[in-house]
Symmetry: C2
Subunit: 305 residues, 2 copies
């Protein structure tokens, strides 16, 4: 498997259909799982896709429409039943805590783990660990809505073993050299880093943009990402309805992908009115050929190649 994989748990929109579950995804970064949105049924699909609840610690909720968060009480109950420990963090608009706490205080008293709501603010870094940063993206919807950019930190350069031995570089200096430092020999000569290392592997970037109207303000934030998930609630036959409801068409999603020079485009959040999703793919590919359709169970490797 790739180091980073995106698992699609649900890619329908607000009205339930027999074909799609509401929005939910799990980004698997070397077995650390990050859930993005949590529509009804997310925990069921999570298990169906054989993901491990114990690997999940951070949830990111884009906005407070039910089809993006009604799966939270069930997921949290299940974590409690399974004896989940530690801290679960839900990164979400500040207004979420009140209604969800009312449910959880009643239904999930005495949680065996700590549950923290982290109020998200557009434009800020909301999560950071040794290798990953998550930032919010400013989307344009009927209510405050954030996309999420998952960005690997700059990786270590690869040491050239022969050169390290040739210069007899002390081990304690190697960490700095991997991060780009030059080496100064005991007699004061500077050996440039480029002579001692070869470039690091690429850092992966994944952008999640749902729900949103077409907005070019987003472009600088998602420029060059390896994978862009962009909602395509409608096809071109409903371009006016897309505008009215602050959603996008498949073609608009593809235009964003083109203008932002992304590696691959992943479509989702399909309106229930379309009985066949291929219309989204066909329309998007006229603008941006490297487009694929989200579907429940799909796993998309993100390797930046």
């Amino acid at each position: 498997m790739a180091n980073i994989e995106l698992n699609i748990l649900g890619c329908g929109s607000a009205l339930p259909t027999t074909r799609h579950l509401p929005s939910s995804q799990v980004l698997n970064v070397r077995e650390k799982l990050f859930m993005i949105d949590c529509g009804e049924g997310a925990q069921l699909q999570f298990r169906r896709q054989k993901l491990k609840f114990s690997r999940l610690q951070h949830l990111f909720i884009s906005h407070l429409h039910g089809d993006h968060c009604f799966g939270l009480p069930g997921l949290i109950s299940t974590l409690a039943l399974l004896g989940y420990t530690g801290e679960l963090v839900i990164h979400v608009h500040s207004e979420a805590e009140k209604p969800f706490r009312a449910m959880l205080d009643y239904f999930c008293r005495d949680l065996p783990f700590s549950l923290r709501f982290n109020p998200i603010v557009p434009g800020e870094n909301i999560y950071e660990d040794r290798s990953l940063i998550v930032r919010t993206l400013p989307l344009k919807h009927r209510i405050p809505t954030c996309g999420f950019l998952f960005e690997e930190k700059q990786k270590a350069r690869h040491l050239l073993g022969d050169m390290v031995r040739f210069y007899n570089i002390p081990v304690k200096l190697l960490a700095d050299i991997k991060m780009g430092a030059d080496y100064v020999t005991p007699d004061g000569r500077v050996i440039l880093n480029e002579r001692l290392t070869r470039p690091a592997d690429r850092s992966i970037r994944y952008a999640y943009c749902s729900d949103t109207a077409y907005t070019e303000k987003l472009l600088p934030y998602i420029e060059g990402v390896d994978l862009l998930y962009h909602e395509s609630t409608f096809a071109e036959d409903n371009v006016l309805r897309a505008k009215e409801t602050f959603h996008s068409t498949a073609k608009q999603a593809a235009t964003m992908a083109l203008k932002a020079h992304v590696g691959q485009l992943l479509l989702g959040h399909y309106s229930a009115r379309y009985l066949n999703d291929s219309i989204f793919l066909d329309e998007a590919r006229t603008v941006f050929p490297n487009t694929i359709l989200a579907n429940e169970g799909l796993v998309v490797p993100i390797d930046g190649k």
Copy 2:
């Protein structure tokens, strides 16, 4: 189809599995739909089974464990999106209203229909229409829990056309005669009802009993019902765990069916620990042969034959 059909939307227990959804059923009484429990995913399965949201007006929630009611916010949102009108009544423990209102007040402002929580009290009739009565059943669980008895009212007897013509009975008297009245001729003779009618069709009775420990106190309430849904969370290998958690084994469910002289037993609420449900069926049938297993999508006709 039979006049009354039971649709199984979910028959798992609290932990999600890939095989079962949490508890939910829909009793279809001549196209009036009554939902019993509403676990996460109930609205998705409702649509999958091609039931009509517009026919649903009453929901009955047995108890306030999440696997029996976490589907409510999603269902209510969907009804709002579909332009449902009229009144939706949720018959449920009085404590439900506060946490659910907190969710609904935030996520479902401006519902286009009226939503009423009807606090249920064990032992009372909670619903009645022209042809049906619903009563609560006292179950024995860790928190206050009600089963539900759906009981058709006594039906009209069938008029014997020849006799009606022979006695030249006025039309205005026929309704009473169908309900069992004798006929008094103009010259004062009493014609017994049995001469004028043949017996009414049987009135159907369906009992829903989940979640509950084995309790013989229930027997008088469910005596002779046509169909009994009784939880069987465990098999005999976990009879002690069943007792501790106030659940039942399949064999205990079958013993209830036998002692209550029911027509048919339907098992459900299977613990996630069993990978194959046939153990429940095998164990129950040693006690009560006319047993079947609930499964998502199953439709059980209840015709009292």
